[in-house]
């Protein structure tokens, strides 16, 4: 009896300890970036152009580049993902075919990001001749986060009770009227959650934009979607591994990492606010 209780306790503390360990890792990363990054942050760093291959100056073009890429990605991926999810949950009959589609989506989620980069290079940059550009990069990132958005949207749609649909149909609504007026509004918060996760990934990935959008050093702002841009994760990668004076410009790296972190948190924050607002409006 006693040894049984000891066993329970060991298991309990083991699991509790492992959970805390995860928090410790995250806290360590955050604190490390904050401590080393904060001194590098200045008005000039955020709004200025990079100089001497990024060893001095600011990172404004990279901030803006990442912002453009994320916006472009969401603009493409959100509608595509939402409509695919609506088709799969509301319209398609359950069959071998839809099972295959679902499996393809899950598989897509597991494809390494560098493969998406190569795919984007082949299709958007070369075959469609967009060149390395915001457009090509956004489309590539969109392909990458599409599974996340589709799966989250499907779950959100499935969470809307069946009686919402039946109630609407019984009042003489067509299928689309029912979905548009009495399903989508309630599924929107969940769909936005998918978008939030997608945004985080799109902003932070390096590999997909490496070959499709990012410029190594481009101290000027893009003027159209066909322009190449700098991007924060790629800039960070360059500074940390490719720069001849990588060790000397550590503060620049930490500063860039901190800005990227805050950008992602900020974008998530906007999406979370949006989600809370929608959820408040339709509570059941």
């Amino acid at each position: 009896m006693n040894s049984k209780r000891t066993g329970e306790k060991v298991i309990y503390w083991l699991m509790r300890g492992i959970t805390y360990l995860v928090v410790v890792f995250i806290a360590y990363i955050l604190i490390d970036i904050l401590i080393h990054g904060l001194p590098a942050i200045s008005w000039e760093f955020i709004t200025g152009d990079p100089e001497k291959s990024g060893a001095e100056g600011g990172i404004f073009p990279a901030i803006l580049g990442t912002l453009f890429l994320v916006i472009g990605t969401i603009v493409v991926a959100l509608p595509l993902g939402m409509f695919s999810a609506i088709y799969l949950t509301e319209y398609a009959r359950q069959s071998k075919f839809t099972q295959t589609i679902r499996m393809a989506i899950v598989t897509l989620a597991g494809v390494p990001s560098i493969v998406f980069g190569l795919f984007g290079l082949g299709l958007f940059v070369v075959a469609l001749d967009f060149g390395a550009s915001i457009l090509a990069g956004s489309l590539t990132l969109a392909c990458m986060i599409l599974p996340t958005i589709i799966v989250a949207s499907e779950e959100a749609l499935k969470a809307v009770p069946k009686y919402m649909r039946e109630g609407s149909l019984a009042l003489g609504a067509t299928k689309w009227e029912t979905i548009y007026k009495n399903v989508l509004p309630y599924a929107l918060p969940g769909m936005l959650t998918g978008a939030i996760l997608g945004i985080g990934r799109a902003a932070g990935e390096t590999a997909p934009i490496l070959l499709t959008a990012a410029a190594f050093f481009l101290p000027e702002l893009p003027s159209s979607v066909y322009d190449q841009v700098m991007a924060l994760p790629y800039h960070l990668y360059i500074l940390a591994t490719q720069h001849p004076e990588a060790q000397k410009i550590l503060p620049m790296q930490y500063g860039t990492a901190l800005v990227l972190l805050f950008l992602v948190i900020g974008l998530n924050f906007v999406a979370i606010i949006l989600r809370i607002k929608v959820r408040k409006k339709y509570k059941w």
Binding site: Q94, Y163, E166, S168, A173, E177, K181
Partner: protein, 258 residues
């Protein structure tokens, strides 16, 4: 065995109807006439097909994959399963109240205006008139008139169900299908719904599925007893409850099974 009533104007006529979920047959050779502006109750043990039958009358089963129907269902003489039938128009004519009250997470006003708006009513004053008259008809007006803009989710269970009735009435149906409308309500709310049914039959043909025998006895003019997908007996409620022709009906009504 089934009977056809002929002493009334019939609103619904069902002929040799069979219904299947995939390969499973749920209804067997149903023949039935349902009288206009009367209350017809469907009774029978769970799984006997009474709800399935109810849902064939506004083609609600269409939304379930793999269902199939044979035979004829006529409403006002026209076959509702004719390929040319406009399902939207049918459901406008044949309203439905569900077992679980299902107000939409919108305001009370928007709930009732949902149907009229779908069918093209945009004028705010006209919508207000509809909302008021339907709430009066469903005996809910006095309780909610000061909070039409508040969420319908804040109403009690009984109020929610009456709201759903008001919402169904807002599209001017001729037939109202009720699928165990009071099964989730307390006795007091149940009585209110029953009073409402009595009131509504002046203007509407009402078909009500119920598991509550006393309820069927109280509210209906005709009662149909279903068992294992077959219509066992159908007749005036008084006759069904006092001297049923079938042994199975008698056993069920007296509580010997089901």
């Amino acid at each position: 065995m089934s009977e056809i009533l002929t002493d009334n104007n019939n609103k619904v006529h069902v002929e040799n109807m069979n219904f299947y979920y995939g390969n499973v047959q749920a209804l067997f050779d149903i023949n039935m006439d349902i009288a206009e502006k009367k209350v017809t109750a469907f009774i029978g043990p769970s799984g006997c097909g009474k709800s399935t039958f109810l849902r064939t009358l506004n083609r609600m089963n269409d939304i379930i994959d793999g269902t199939r129907i044979e035979g004829k269902v006529l409403i006002d003489g026209s076959d509702i399963y004719n390929p040319m039938t406009d399902v939207v128009a049918l459901r406008k004519k044949v309203g439905m109240i569900f077992q679980k009250s299902n107000p939409f997470p919108k305001s009370i006003f928007d709930n009732i205006a949902y149907g009229p708006r779908l069918h093209g009513v945009k004028d705010k004053n006209q919508l207000m008139e509809i909302v008021e008259s339907c709430l009066i008809k469903s005996a809910l007006w006095d309780e909610v008139k000061d909070r039409l803009d508040k969420s319908a989710m804040g109403l009690s269970g009984g109020q929610q169900q009456r709201l759903c009735i008001a919402r169904a009435l807002a599209i001017n149906p001729e037939v109202v299908l009720m699928d165990e409308p009071a099964s989730a309500l307390d006795p007091k709310s149940t009585l209110k719904i029953e009073d409402l049914v009595n009131e509504l039959k002046k203007d509407y043909t009402i078909i009500i599925v119920t598991n509550n025998m006393q309820q069927a006895g109280r509210v209906s003019d005709y009662t149909a007893f279903f068992y294992e997908g077959k219509l066992i007996e159908f007749g005036a409620t008084g006759q069904i409850f006092t001297k049923p022709n079938q042994k199975q009906t008698e056993d069920y009504i007296t509580g010997r099974f089901g």
